[in-house]
């Protein structure tokens, strides 16, 4: 890296590239805090069917009743002030199909994030969510003609009520946990995707989530159904401004891969370090189906997220491939959950974490093989890279194996630091210390980056390089 690029990189890093914010403008903003009336008004503004309003109200009650998680980072969790959060903010009246119709200040934001550009280059469809609502949505005509449905979740509920009603909340019931209940009560935005039988969506569909307002809560809800023999790749990216007070992002994502279907769900989460990111993600994979969560956690203050796959029928396959980066003041509590509920199902979990400047990474995983699920195979691998002695990495790999016949469950974990011999070797070929460290780290996360579309891989490597500058010596 030349000196010039380095200076630039440093300038960007000093205040987190996406940390800017735009003036707050909105057509509706609910008062601070949460009560039943706010839940009702969200439903009313959205003009929802009764069943959804009732679902929200039940969920709200459950949210009140459910305790906070008793595990995880208790100190950080106790800092969440539910009463200080704004639960619903509608920035604009209508969703636009053309970027030029999106309000200028919002368009500026997404321009800075490179979204319209990315869309033109390599995406099949895009939704951009700003605060609580999707402000922009478009999909390529050829995909629409194939019968692929891709809308924001609110439009999905309006336009395809039977499909939504059939699947909504079936994979993650509102009773699942406190944050799933909260999302079910106040959800807004997110994506709804349905891919018809034997239809392949070759180019990725993307959603972009942006929190702009202070103390904002974002609660998008995503439901993806891949019908028999179909396939789809969905990518989401997230950023927010840097504020001194905390914001809350609590999404619920449900995936359904029917027989022979394939879903890949990629997340690059780069929230600013004042965002609590508490997300429930779960998939059901039916006969011979394949589900992959590719999950990158770079930002946020505290992330708690354990993408799950329920392998429901024979020969279903699940994969979670994740990287987490925890720097100063960050705790990435992430992992994976695989439930082998049928014989001959297979799964693979690969988790890579990098801790630096006192950052903390936790891998929390569960592999469950239910009774009579014969001949299941699961492979878990966790690699942690520690860049200094102040940082921390913990691994909690739980196994619940109720069947033994033909079952193979492997778990392997490593903790390492940047190896001095590797550094010296690269240095001896003229590569500077900083560049050598980022080459080693990029190598460490290579199994992850090689699964990303090229543009994302380049961006991710660059991001990591910025984070790593001056990491050694």
């Amino acid at each position: 890296m030349s000196k010039d690029t380095k200076d630039k990189a440093r300038a960007i890093k000093e205040d987190y590239k996406y940390g800017f914010h735009s003036p707050e403008e909105f057509v509706y903003k609910a008062e601070k805090g949460l009560n039943e009336e706010i839940v009702r008004s969200i439903s009313r503004i959205k003009n929802e069917p009764e069943w959804m309003r009732d679902y929200r109200l039940k969920s709200y009650q459950t949210f009140l009743e459910k305790p906070m998680p008793k595990w995880g980072d208790q100190k950080m969790l106790s800092q969440i002030k539910f009463e200080n959060i704004f639960y619903y903010l509608r920035p604009t009246d209508k969703q636009k199909k053309d970027w030029s119709d999106v309000p200028e200040y919002i368009k500026d934001t997404f321009d800075k994030l490179g979204i319209p550009e990315a869309e033109q280059k390599f995406l099949g469809g895009v939704t951009a969510q700003y605060e609580s609502e999707v402000v922009y949505h478009s999909m390529r005509d050829d995909l629409t003609k194939k019968g692929i449905l891709f809308t924001d979740m609110d439009s999905g509920l309006r336009e395809y009520p039977e499909v939504v009603k059939k699947y909504f909340g079936t994979i993650i019931p509102y009773t699942d946990n406190k944050f799933a209940a909260l999302n079910s009560a106040v959800w807004s935005g997110g994506s709804f995707i349905y891919v018809p039988p034997d239809t392949q969506v070759i180019i990725p569909l993307q959603a972009y989530f942006r929190i702009n307002a202070k103390n904002m809560g974002q609660f998008e809800r995503t439901l993806i159904i891949a019908d028999k023999g179909s396939s789809v790749h969905y990518i989401e990216g997230c950023t927010a401004p840097v504020y001194s007070s905390d914001s809350l992002h609590s999404a619920v994502v449900e995936l359904i891969a029917l027989e022979n279907a394939k879903i890949r769900y990629t997340t690059i989460q780069n929230w600013s370090n004042n965002v609590f990111n508490l997300v429930t993600k779960r998939a059901a994979a039916y006969k011979n189906a394949k589900v992959e969560w590719v999950d990158g956690n770079i930002g946020s203050k505290l992330t708690m997220k354990y993408p799950a796959i329920y392998l429901m029928d024979e020969h279903a396959h699940g994969e979670v491939l994740s990287i987490a980066y925890a720097g100063k003041g960050q705790h990435q509590d992430a992992g994976a959950k695989m439930v082998h509920a049928a014989p001959n199902t297979t799964s693979k979990i690969t988790s890579k974490s990098i801790s630096k400047d006192g950052g903390q990474n936790t891998y929390r995983g569960l592999v469950k093989i239910t009774k009579n699920s014969k001949n299941c195979k699961s492979n878990v691998r966790c690699d942690a890279l520690m860049l200094d002695m102040n940082s921390r990495s913990d691994t909690y790999p739980h196994m619940e194996v109720e069947e033994s016949e033909g079952v193979k469950v492997n778990h392997e974990a490593t903790v390492s630091k940047v190896d001095e011999e590797m550094l010296f070797y690269l240095n001896s070929r003229g590569i500077s210390e900083d560049d050598a460290v980022s080459m080693i780290i990029n190598g460490f996360i290579e199994p992850f980056t090689k699964q990303l579309p090229m543009e994302y891989a380049v961006e991710l490597n660059r991001l990591i390089q910025l984070e790593m500058e001056g990491a050694i010596g």
Binding site: D419, E420, E421, M422, F424, Y425, L426, N427, S428, R429, G430, I431, S432, E433, D435, A436, M439, I440, N442, G443, F444, I445, E446, P447
Partner: protein
Amino acid sequence: MSDKENKKTILEISNLHAEYINPQNTTEKIPILHGINISIKEGEIHAIMGPNGSGKSTLSSVIMGHPHYKVTKGEINFFNKNTNKLENIVDMPAFERARIGLFLSFQYPAAVPGLPVSQFLRNALKTLRNEEISVKEFRKEMNDSMDFLKMDNEFAKRYLNEGFSGGEKKRMEILQMTLIKPALAVLDEIDSGLDIDALKIVSDGINSLIDGKRSFLLITHYKRLLDYVKAENIHVLAGGKIIKQGGFELVDILESKGYDEIVKEAQ
């Protein structure tokens, strides 16, 4: 031989003392080199031979600037191709030593998982040559060198040294050397663990760079590498000191008498 007299000095090691610092416990220091003197002029091929534990690998690590070794006395002067001057490099970080023309082939090169060979090589060459190299140009250059060293071009896609056999690692080192074309290449036991065919290929790689300008310092235990690469200056290292210096004839003496005998004679 006035021509030889006029040749400039590439490496001048004088009264070099160095110790190993245990990275786990930095107060633990082990002195290994006790006053080494070696002078290499451009175009010369030198060999350092010596028994196990004599300090051969330490010397090569110290020349390259390994952080676990500390020079306690003496100087390493190296001809800086950028400033055209002989400079003491003792305090220079390893990556700068590489940039002024020094190369070390490792006895045990580190593996870097996830770093593809081609990416590594292109980055190294860009830095060392201080210029952009187009992907196309680079590929051609790399593939030509690989063909010469009878390496499958698929090597480029593998991760650097990861899962490489001993012989593959040595070839990888020579591949780098032939691409980098350093002013001085220090080759630390490049012949160890090679069968005859591989030794021949590695030697061909070294010989292909010999042009009367570039210099080599071969560090080896055995004579057999010197059957392929003609070194004119032999240094015998034992107990952290050069105990004997001479021409190629010294190799045969070593071979017939063995190290023990020579060491005893020197005492």
